[in-house]
């Protein structure tokens, strides 16, 4: 077990190193940020030089790379190219806002997806199954921006029940959470159905029935724990993916979180912030993957015991 954790952790660190380096390279080869930030024709060359020095863009590439690594370890990711504020500070004040959205979305998608998937599997072929699956396809197929705008039109413009956008009250949370949770919950419902059906067909469920156990006991003891193993993998990966999915929704609902920050920073070619955000996103993904591996090992005694 310890060996398993060790190997997975090393693998996660190696992935992180690759991502950090790739991010640096990719952002440097897309052009000189100063030239796109400042109007080149009208700006005096010394001003351009000043900016380049301020952001260390005048240094050779390898020095920039070393400095970039030092920054990561010291928790200083440079200053915003736009307003000169500390990047870590800017991101840090946005993180709780996005986490709030993600947390509720996570709860909502499980609350929608798991019961729907289980109900569909237990009533395979019935109208419940068909309804859940049709809803899942629709929920997954409907893009977030269409659903978000439809909801804004219905609940904010026509019915005037909810605020159309912004942040601050629980009412503000409702529409963004529903938009995100519908898409992810739909996928979870499908995976849950498949996982439960798979376990229901296994001989140990038949054996448990032959032993006289009641249906709910078999569900709790045989079916759900075994179905949880593949589900944890999917759900864990969604946790990492949610942060990416939040970009569109945060933009539509003017949610002042990280996703919105990413959009504005990309539009403004704020290299320092984009770079930090890419690292943050990938670190989240890598961490989520690592957690999935560990959870998988914990749930499955065949891995846990042999280690």
């Amino acid at each position: 077990m310890i060996r398993f954790i060790f190997i997975r952790t090393i693998r996660a660190i190696l992935t992180a190193l690759t991502v950090v380096t790739t991010t640096f390279v990719v952002l440097r080869v897309t052009g000189d940020p100063v030239q796109s930030l400042l109007p080149v024709e009208t700006t005096p060359p010394e001003i351009i030089e000043l900016y380049r020095r301020m952001w260390n863009l005048d240094q050779p590439l390898w020095q920039q790379y070393v400095g970039y690594w030092q920054g990561i370890f010291h928790g200083t990711m440079g200053r915003s190219f736009v307003d000169g504020r500390d990047v870590v500070g800017i991101i840090a004040e946005r993180i709780p806002i996005t986490l709030e959205l993600m947390g509720w979305t996570f709860v909502a998608m499980l609350a929608i997806g798991l019961p729907a998937g289980i109900a569909a599997a237990l009533n395979r072929g019935s109208w419940i199954d068909r309804l859940v699956m049709a809803a899942a396809v629709a929920g997954h197929a409907l893009p977030g921006y269409v659903m978000g705008i439809l909801m804004i039109w219905l609940f904010a413009v026509e019915l005037r029940w909810l605020p159309s956008s912004g942040y601050g009250t629980p009412q503000h949370l409702i529409m963004p959470v529903i938009t995100l949770a519908t898409a992810y919950g739909a996928v979870i419902a499908r995976f849950t159905r498949a996982a439960v059906l798979e376990v229901l067909g296994q001989p140990h469920v038949l054996a448990a029935r032959s032993q006289g156990w009641a249906g709910h006991t078999i569900m709790r003891r045989e079916v759900l724990p075994n179905a949880a193993i593949p589900l944890v993998t999917i759900i864990g990966l969604f946790l990492g993916g949610l942060i990416g999915g939040s970009v569109i929704v945060e933009w539509i609902f003017a949610w002042p979180g990280i996703g919105r920050l990413l959009v504005t920073s990309v539009a403004g070619r704020d290299l320092a912030i984009v770079q930090a955000l890419v690292l943050l996103f990938s670190a989240t993904m890598i961490f989520a993957n690592l957690m999935v591996d560990l959870a998988y090992a914990f749930l499955n005694p065949a891995i846990r015991v042999r280690g």
């Binding site: 060996r3 395979r124 001989p203 038949l206 032993q211 006289g212 156990w213």
Partner: protein
């Protein structure tokens, strides 16, 4: 001779049978007219043992599941009634399942919840059926494990199913079935997934438990040997119907229905070698002229070491020396984990030996990718157990054979060559356009063999080629293999766990145990006069349907060995009835005996002492 009919005294001796099935029919919910089981009536006399035997699709398992009302969701019982002591059982079988009737299944590993330890599994059942909790339930769990002769019972409580062997898991399942102290045990193919020596242990256990508890037994199996061993009344099923039912002794001695008789005649020891020999007189298949004569195979010091997770070293093969003569068929037999499949994979170059070398026709075997590798593929072919997973599901059978002919540029007239090949394996031209899923199991294996023959191999390794097939089909495919072997002038390796099958097709037999050959010699000598204690045990585990031939068996104790835990000295000594002090320290080498037979055993009286066997081969 007067044969009593079904309704007469023999089956209905008791006033009220313990269990009776009357007019049972099982049909699809969506298509009620297609019956899987039709009008089956069976009786289990009090404390008796009823065997239900049949091939796949005969409805024997569905009949058994109907007793517990456990049919798959797509099926339903469309007619009939199941009675326990004359009282009809209610749907759902509440209070019956696990308490009055218990059930065990085929694959003990898969019938246990992989996430649950043995202790909670058993004490949960004890609590459910007897209301015991806590320490009392645990004590009862230990007692149950003791009653199924599980060694170190208390220590097993913390084990997960994957930490136990198949035989041990089946013991745990039986212990669980006994938790409710049932009066009837249903056993659906309880030993099919187990090794032969383990099978013998489990059947003995079932017999002992029946005697101890006066428990009735309903045993479902495809294997007449198992049925003959454990049942005193037998029903033969075919296509959903009971075609014959009779007391066991009478059924096996005087089968009435032609189907029963033909099945009994398909059991490997009964297969007449004479009939196969006549069929071998078929004209040789017209091989293209570039085909060469048969070549031999020579393995020297062959070892394969697996390093599992960098720590556990598993010696799957341990210094195999072997020569297969051109045109010879060598049978390789042994229990799971003995290394026989690893051996087969090495011989066709699908895996690299850790040490030692293999020569085919005098030339070293090429296993690196490239032109030479492709040519060596022409020389060596392998046939696996499960034909469905080997055939391409998206190409027709004919297409797959033609593809092979084209890849290796065998001939220009691929179409007619393909048809010849199909004919050689007794398939018809119409099968060429079929897909794998449209063929029966036997036809699929024939198609696989036809495809293997397409490259005109000189050596073919058959790895359990008939183990997944029904008995009657098994016999046909074995005969076909014996036939093509002669017609195509093949050198062959035939790997199987079933020594009866191996003996039928092989010239010589090699018996493997824990990565070593423990005995090798002419097939009939090995079969009729085994010398190594392990070979003797393997043969004594073979179940015969002939009451006269059934004798007291020497059952091996313990489980099939784990290659990761290699014993010192002779690898067989922990299970060997003749083990002496010397066996614990010194590994015996293969010594030549009489009749070109070689045995690796200190206890065997070696007539020609000191001669290493390979020197003589």
């Amino acid at each position: 001779m007067q044969i009593p009919t079904l309704s007469s005294a023999a089956l209905t001796a008791a006033d009220t049978p313990q269990l009776s099935i009357e007019g049972l029919s099982v049909a699809h919910r969506s298509a009620p007219q297609t019956q899987q089981v039709s009008d089956v009536s069976l009786i289990l006399p009090a404390g008796g043992a009823l065997g239900i035997v049949g091939e796949s699709g005969s409805g024997k398992s569905l009949t058994c599941l109907s007793i517990m009302d456990l049919l798959p969701g797509a099926l339903k019982q469309s007619a009939g009634v199941v009675r326990l002591h004359g009282k009809p059982l209610a749907p759902g079988r509440k209070g019956i399942r696990g308490r009055r009737i218990a059930m065990i299944f085929q694959d003990p590993g898969a019938t246990m919840n992989p996430l649950r330890r043995i202790g909670p599994f058993l004490s949960g059942l004890v609590k459910l059926h007897r209301g015991l909790t806590g320490a009392a339930a645990e004590a009862e769990a230990v007692r149950l494990l003791d009653s199924v002769r599980m060694p170190a019972a208390r220590a097993r409580l913390r084990a997960y199913p994957h930490e136990l062997s198949g035989g041990q898991n089946q013991r745990v399942m039986i212990a669980g079935a006994l938790a409710g102290d049932p009066e009837i045990l249903l056993a659906d193919e309880p030993t099919t997934a187990l090794d032969v020596t383990t099978q013998a242990q489990i059947l003995d256990l079932l017999a002992e438990l029946r005697a101890e508890r006066g428990m009735g037994l309903v045993l479902v199996s495809h294997d007449f040997g198992v049925i003959a061993e454990a049942a005193d009344h037998v029903a033969v099923m075919r296509a959903g119907r009971v075609v014959e039912k009779a007391p066991a002794d009478r059924l096996f001695s005087f089968p009435q229905h032609p189907y029963t008789a033909s099945l009994l005649a398909s059991i490997p020891p009964e297969l007449g070698r004479a009939s196969a020999l006549t069929s071998r007189k078929n004209p040789p298949c017209n091989r293209p002229s570039n085909a060469t004569k048969a070549i031999g195979l020579k393995a020297r010091g062959l070892s394969r070491l697996f390093e599992a997770r960098g720590r556990v070293r598993v010696h799957a093969l341990n210094g195999i020396d072997l020569t297969v003569q051109p045109g010879e068929m060598l049978g390789v037999v042994g229990e799971s984990g003995c290394g026989k499949s690893t051996f087969g994979r090495l011989l066709v170059g699908l895996d690299k030996p850790s040490s030692g070398d293999i020569r085919a026709g005098g030339k070293p075997l090429v296993i690196e990718d490239g032109e030479a590798f492709r040519n060596s593929r022409r020389q060596l072919q392998m046939v696996w157990q499960d034909p469905l997973s080997v055939l391409n599901p998206r190409l027709s059978i004919g297409h797959q054979i033609i593809e092979v002919l084209q890849t290796h540029r065998i001939t220009d007239d691929t179409q007619s060559r393909m048809l010849e090949l199909l004919q050689a394996v007794n398939l018809k031209a119409e099968h060429a356009s079929r897909y794998a899923h449209q063929l029966s199991g036997g036809q699929r294996q024939r198609a696989v063999i036809a495809r293997a023959l397409a490259v005109e191999p000189q050596i073919v390794v058959f790895d359990e080629p008939v183990s997944a097939l029904d008995l009657s089909v098994q016999a046909q495919v074995i005969e076909m293999i014996a036939d093509i072997r002669d017609r195509f002038n093949l050198t062959g390796i035939f790997i199987s766990h079933d020594i009866r099958v191996v003996r039928y097709v092989s010239d010589r037999i090699a018996v493997m145990y824990l990565g070593r050959i423990v005995e090798i010699g002419p097939a009939d000598d090995i079969y009729h006069a085994p010398k190594h204690p392990y070979t003797q045990a393997l043969l004594s585990a073979v179940l015969s349907t002939d009451p006269k031939r059934r004798k007291s068996r020497s059952i091996l104790r313990g489980d099939p060995p784990d290659p990761a835990q290699m014993p010192s000295g002779c690898p067989f000594h922990p299970r060997c009835p003749r083990a002496a002090a010397r066996c614990r320290v010194e590994t015996p080498a293969l010594q030549a005996g009489a009749d070109s037979r070689f045995t690796a055993c200190h206890a065997v009286d070696v007539e020609t002492s000191g001669r290493h066997w390979e020197a003589a081969a």
